[in-house]
Symmetry: C2
């Protein structure tokens, strides 16, 4: 390993652990051979595929670099990095910021600064897991970008960077840089409920405890799962304007416009992250992404203007249909250091359909949207993967093409279990829109210990939902690992609402079953068994069913995890 050879002279006589202890964690690198953790890298990669040092693992990290990003050429890294050793020098060269700034393109070379070091990363650009977004930092400092994506703050990332060090930044320029360094971009994020299970703090991603989730048909906003890709933007509602483009009459709409010029439409819709239940895929084989449990799904009531009405206000009509527009793009106001915003798109026919119910929502569960859910305005695309329900909505664009954003093009797509990061072609798969049929057991919890009491029964509860407005029509539950099945009672109507003192939900219109169903089975525990595997599977009104097992639907991003849900419990005799 190049780094090992470069740094050997510094760590000679120290064990790797000693070398590590010799330098305070997180402090600048003690020499120009690396920025930190170099000696740990020298221990080499194992073959277990799990350690940070394992080159095969690095793509898994890298997938997070742009929040959720893809790794296209990363496997090349170690091969290409084997360049000849730099000449031995007593001290690193010093460069001014002006010199660094000249290296701001692939043609002129790509230099960046980090913690006082100067790095020529030209060769690395093609290997950057987050794509050429890295060029945004060319000729300048990495810190603002890495502040956004906390995953960079790991030793092995610093290891990689260290290989490209070419010198030090002039101390005066270092001082100037520190003076303008941004504060933590996440410092404006709102307070969250402590009951949430946090998968990532920055950006904030968290899910509620399953037993809470399954208790209420309408998920309280505070525990509704949070899936942010970037810092929560602070938006001034008074000056806020939604821009609508790609129509005969471009629009700029204030919140008051949205509330007064269009009928208020209310929809109860379940949102689910594409990565819900990813942890079950991780159990088969490591994937990239946040390790969601079964609760990256929640159900709320949303109110706002119909996107369809707004598009028609902008002049959309049959005559405009000739223009070849096929998509509606959404841009969030959440942005990275370069100003690149979160973005996504949906098919235009979904947006225009009388039965699509796509909302520009300003209320969630009867109140202004909370900051984490897109205040002051978000898109709600019922039946469609969470990622298209863009929050902090800044712009709507009717267009011929899908959104060019990373999240539309190179993320949130499904692949065959045989596809790996060496062979994946993101262009070969469609962006996830409608999600497949899903269900999970929220009670009892996996690993629970149940007492077998007099009646010897167990209450099993859960949720079930399907994308595209397809109504869940049946949930089958097994108490013997899937050999025999009984039909769960769908906790519909009054019952779903009454626990919360809410009005019962109306029956869904055909093709517009946007909300989940909660279900319940009270069944005798298998006599004599101490280990019981409880399984559920749902059926929607297209009679699509969940696949039996995880391995055959495993995919490298760990999305679309909708195999039968299995919970193993121990039964203790009374």
């Amino acid at each position: 390993m190049l780094l090992l050879r470069r740094c050997r002279r510094l760590t000679a006589g120290l064990s790797p652990a000693q070398a590590q202890r010799a330098r305070p964690a997180g402090s600048p690198a003690p020499s120009w051979c690396g920025v930190g953790g170099g000696s740990r890298s020298s221990s080499g990669g194992g073959e277990d595929g799990q350690t940070a040092q394992d080159p095969r693992w690095r793509p898994a990290l890298a997938g997070l670099l742009v929040g959720t990003g893809a790794v296209l050429a990363y496997g090349l890294h170690h091969h290409k990095a084997e360049r000849p050793l730099a000449p031995m020098e007593p001290a690193p060269p010093v460069f001014s910021q002006a010199e660094v700034s000249k290296h701001g393109s692939l043609e002129a070379g790509v230099w960046v600064t980090f913690r006082g070091g100067v790095y020529d990363i030209t060769e690395f650009v093609a290997m950057h897991p987050g794509g050429d977004k890295i060029l945004l930092a060319a000729g300048g400092a990495l810190e603002p970008f890495w502040a956004l994506y906390a995953v960079h703050s790991q030793d092995h990332v610093l290891d990689i960077l260290s290989e490209y060090k070419v010198g030090e930044l002039d101390p005066e320029d270092q001082a100037r840089q520190r003076a303008v360094e941004p504060s933590d971009p996440y410092s404006g994020d709102p307070q969250r409920h402590p009951v949430l299970r946090v998968n990532s703090a920055k950006p904030f991603n968290a899910e509620p405890p399953p037993e809470l989730l399954g208790d209420s048909y309408i998920t309280p906003s505070a525990i509704f799962f949070k899936r942010n890709h970037l810092p929560v933007p602070r938006v001034d509602p008074a000056s806020y304007r939604l821009r609508v483009e790609g129509l005969p009459r471009p629009l700029s709409l204030s919140l008051a416009d949205l509330k007064s010029r269009f009928p208020k439409h209310t929809v109860t819709a379940t949102l689910q992250c594409a990565g819900n239940r990813r942890s079950e895929m991780n159990a088969v084989k490591q994937v990239k992404g946040l390790n969601w449990g079964i609760a990256a799904i929640s159900n709320a009531t949303w109110s706002g203007a119909l996107l369809r009405d707004v598009l028609r206000e902008g002049g959309w009509g049959p005559e405009a249909a000739g223009g070849g527009a096929r998509h509606v793009q959404f841009e969030g106001l959440d942005a990275d250091a370069s100003g690149t915003t979160y973005g996504a798109s949906i098919p235009l026919n979904k947006a225009l359909s009388e039965e699509g119910d796509v909302l520009l929502a300003y209320q969630m569960n009867g109140e202004d949207l909370p900051a984490d859910h897109g205040y002051p305005l978000r898109v709600v695309v019922p039946g469609t993967v969470g990622a298209r329900n863009v929050k902090w909505l800044g712009k709507v664009i009717v267009s011929r093409e899908e959104s060019a954003s990373h999240w539309q093009q190179n993320d949130y797509k499904g692949f065959s279990p045989g596809t790996d990061w060496d062979t994946v072609d993101f262009k070969s798969a469609p962006a996830i829109q409608e999600l497949p049929v899903q269900s999970a057991i929220t009670q009892p919890a996996d690993g629970a210990v149940l007492e077998r009491d007099a009646d010897g029964e167990v209450t099993v509860r859960g949720y079930a939902w399907s994308g595209g407005g397809r109504e869940v029509v049946r949930v089958d539950v097994s108490l013997d690992g899937g050999k025999t099945w009984q039909v769960a009672r769908l906790r519909e109507g009054e019952e779903q609402g009454e626990e919360q003192g809410e009005a019962p939900p109306p029956p869904p219109l055909p093709g517009r079953a946007w909300a989940w169903k909660l279900w319940e089975v009270v069944a005798p525990l298998p006599p004599g068994e101490q280990q019981v595997e409880i399984v559920c599977k749902a059926v929607d009104n297209s009679y699509n069913m969940q696949p039996d097992s995880v391995a055959p639907i495993w995919n490298l991003r760990g999305v679309l995890s909708n195999a039968w849900h299995r919970v193993r419990v121990t039964v203790r005799e009374d």
Copy 2:
């Protein structure tokens, strides 16, 4: 068994086989103790669940009695039939037709005649697998009904009938009855291609050999699977009228009206029977229905008027929407002896949607509809189960309610594997409309013997399709029973057409992928293996996948059989 006791005096001294031989097959019963086959019944039912004598098997037969019918109370039969023996009489009483006719209701008793015998079936009505349709024959002859449903012509059905014999019909009335007895109602059925694999001759149900099916993107009409519920009606195109009801302006449209007053719309759409691949469910546990292989699915180009346009011509509009109509019913001109026609319905929103593409089709593959496919007019409901694509269309009714027909209410629905004929409640499940994602291997055939040649490769081909206009985006193929997977090449565009010299199909519009995709994999045979299990599974653009195995989706009617398709081949070394 009652019959055994009644008939013992006649068969005494004969073995069951001798008793059978003593009477020519199909001849009238030799005594009033039974109408035929009585002695065979006396051998009693086995326990293998497969023989005709097995009482447990009878519901499986009975399911066919109305073409596809349900068995609700059939299990009661044997219990209730244990009534006291009739007194021994030297000769049966003789009844006139006038007397028989008086027993035409449950109140007056239900009598029927068959082959000169008179039967009091009052007690049996509640047990009739085909429901109270049996009352249509009350006071009259069974022959016209049984001629429609050839499944009645089996010894065990005659056994059941024999238990209810009360006497003989007056010989003069027998002669009169024979004079007016209808000819075979299927005598008007068209000639069919001999390559078809016939599952039922009357009504005609047949599928093409899979290897032929997989060879052409557009299935030639002659080998397109045939699924008839009743005799093919002969319709005079000159006097034909389509009646459209339930609208502000009822319509009566001639063929010329349909062709001239509405734009001609052409759609390439795959139709699939709900029972396609039922044989795989039978392999798990016996179900009711025709034993379809993998070819009860085909793809054709259909042309006609849009149902939407016709409904609008009848005055359908936003103002009519307030009337509460939710369904569009279709009535065929194919009828049973009582005049009851085939019927089905679809949701109104599918019929009205600009993107629904529901056709009143008068052409198939560029020619007039063939007789077996609904000449002169049928409904084509793209993305929806074959059963709703009503042929020989006589009437369209916009209504609040679904079709009341047997096939909408008590058939073509899916149930949990734990639901049996004792517990099934047909009201608890929605009528099948959109079908789930499906795929199958058309080449090689199951059980094929392959020669391992120099390149050691095998070509695997098949079809893939999903309901609701959801486009198939990927087919995974495994050559090791599902452990590892590779992605099949979808034979799209030019290639699909060129084999037939056809124009390539255009890419589907979003949400309107009505046609299947053919696919192919050329892959190395696993080295050294002599038994290879080839598996396929498809994914649609809602990322629904096929379930892994059959048992967990097994249902008592054997519909919706869409588990991974598996083909086992033997590889012979060269």
